[in-house]
């Protein structure tokens, strides 16, 4: 029995960890701007394409991997500066609409650049190797993902709890104006949030696409949506919540597949969203009421 479910459990934790890296970006941006950054899934896809094109250009991996992170961070940063910052004092609905616009813009840019063709994701050596764990054979990326995610999340939580910039992030997430009165440049803090979120999405893209091996313009939409559901499920704004939600979704999806209902695994995620919104709209770890004044 255990032998039968082990591969699904491993796959579930792994894909959950990959959702978690995307979900943290959603939840951090929501925490600070009360904005659902619809473009985040497309930034994740773009990270996949950056890797494809950099590798195709003949660049060695040890060079292209950090460069992908840098390009993804630049993209996230630019999106915030161009599409969200000018709307800082506009009604929240306007920024949401701007985010939806950016999402479509990025997606269609990717259609345009790739000609709509699905690209083969380059094989990252070592992490793509096949290994055997307790009799189950899997790729090494499946085993690494949970550890990498745990390390990154612990580092991120430490950053937020223990450092000066983390303190500023918590302050800005509560009260822009008073944070400014303390001398905090809120735009820098908001940019930092987007930079961290995009960098984690880039790391997530290495893991996710190494597993799924194909990148197409809508490839990030489904993991992006699931990561978003994970963030809502965990309580949007909460980092541990997002990670926990992502793991639950990853594991449940794979168990549903293991009992032969693979077709329903996506439906499960969205059913979960509806149930959460109906019965506990603030999510598992969500703050009670954090409407901004």
């Amino acid at each position: 029995m255990f032998q039968r479910i082990l591969p699904y459990l491993l796959a579930g934790i792994s894909v959950g960890g990959q959702y978690a890296l995307i979900a943290v970006g959603y939840t951090m941006v929501y925490g600070i701007l009360r904005l659902i950054n619809f473009a985040h899934g497309d930034i994740f896809t773009a990270a996949g394409f950056f890797m494809v094109y950099l590798t195709a250009s003949g660049m060695p991996m040890y060079f292209s991997i950090p460069l992908v992170v840098i390009l993804t961070v630049l993209l996230g940063f630019t999106v915030e500066r161009v599409a969200y910052k000018p709307l800082r004092s506009a009604p929240r609905m306007s920024i949401m609409i701007s985010a939806i616009g950016v999402s479509y813009l990025l997606q269609h840019l990717m259609w345009y650049i790739t000609g709509g063709l699905t690209k083969q994701y380059p094989t990252i050596p070592w992490i793509s190797d096949t290994v055997t764990v307790l009799g189950a054979s899997t790729r090494r990326v499946t085993i690494i993902t949970p550890f990498l995610v745990a390390a990154l999340v612990v580092a991120l939580v430490a950053l937020i709890k223990k450092t000066k910039i983390g303190m500023a992030m918590r302050a800005v997430s509560r009260d822009f104006e008073t944070a400014q009165l303390m001398g905090i440049k809120i735009n820098n803090v908001i940019s930092t949030t987007f930079i961290i979120g995009s960098a984690l999405a880039a790391v997530g893209s290495f893991l996710f696409f190494s597993n799924y091996t194909a990148v197409s313009p809508p490839a990030g939409a489904m993991p992006g949506l699931k990561a978003f559901v994970a963030a809502v499920f965990g309580g949007i704004g909460s980092i541990p919540g997002a990670v926990f939600g992502a793991l639950i979704i990853g594991i449940c999806e794979n168990f549903i597949k293991s009992v032969g209902y693979a077709n329903f695994s996506d439906a499960f995620t969205f059913a979960l969203l509806i149930v959460v919104l109906l019965f506990k709209p603030t999510g598992l770890f969500g703050e009670k009421t954090s409407e901004k004044v």
Partner: protein
Amino acid sequence: MSLLTVSDLRVSYGGIEALKGISFSVEEGKIVTLIGANGAGKSTTLRTIAGLVKPASGKIEFEGKDITGHDAQKVVSGGIALVPEGRRVFDNLSVLENLRIGAYLRKDEAGIKSDIEHVYELFPRLKERHWQLAGTLSGGEQQMLAVGRAMMTRPKVMMMDEPSLGLAPLVVKDIFSIIKTLNESGMTILLIEQNANAALRCAHEGYVLETGRITMAGTCAELLNDQRVKGAYLGSASKK
């Protein structure tokens, strides 16, 4: 010499003029108070000086330099702190973090530590609760924290927006005695109050603000004895 001078300041919110050309000055070492009814433009005045609101016209000078339209961040690093209306402590940060964030722009760790100790001496209650989330403090403690947080910016002028708002009479007394203490240690204070009686007894000079205009000015002793002030502000204040 006056430390802070405001001349002919006008501020509008989307076409509605909240300040219709006000002028006043704050001398170094003094407590100056602006009194006025709800909506007179008191908070707008402080928020404009602090750089949160951009004026339509007029001039704000601090230590002889023009600071009109400067960003909030620049104003606070220049030495003007605002204790905002409604305290606005960061409820998700601990008491100690709230003080530390007041020192956000400072690099002198030794100075920050000794200033925190100084705040704790002034407000022993904050020391006892230094690890507690600010959101769990009482209203009076939150006000003390907001003052302590502003002190951490090492201001030359501290602006306070209705520090007594919503506090019990005994705590209000504490707050005013803290204002006195701060001033005696050399801090210049610009104080806004609806509690005109207490404010005029605490301050040296006062201005009366009515719907965006300054209608009276003088020493607090003069204003306290003025029939119009008595009629409009002191009667109602003592009834409250």
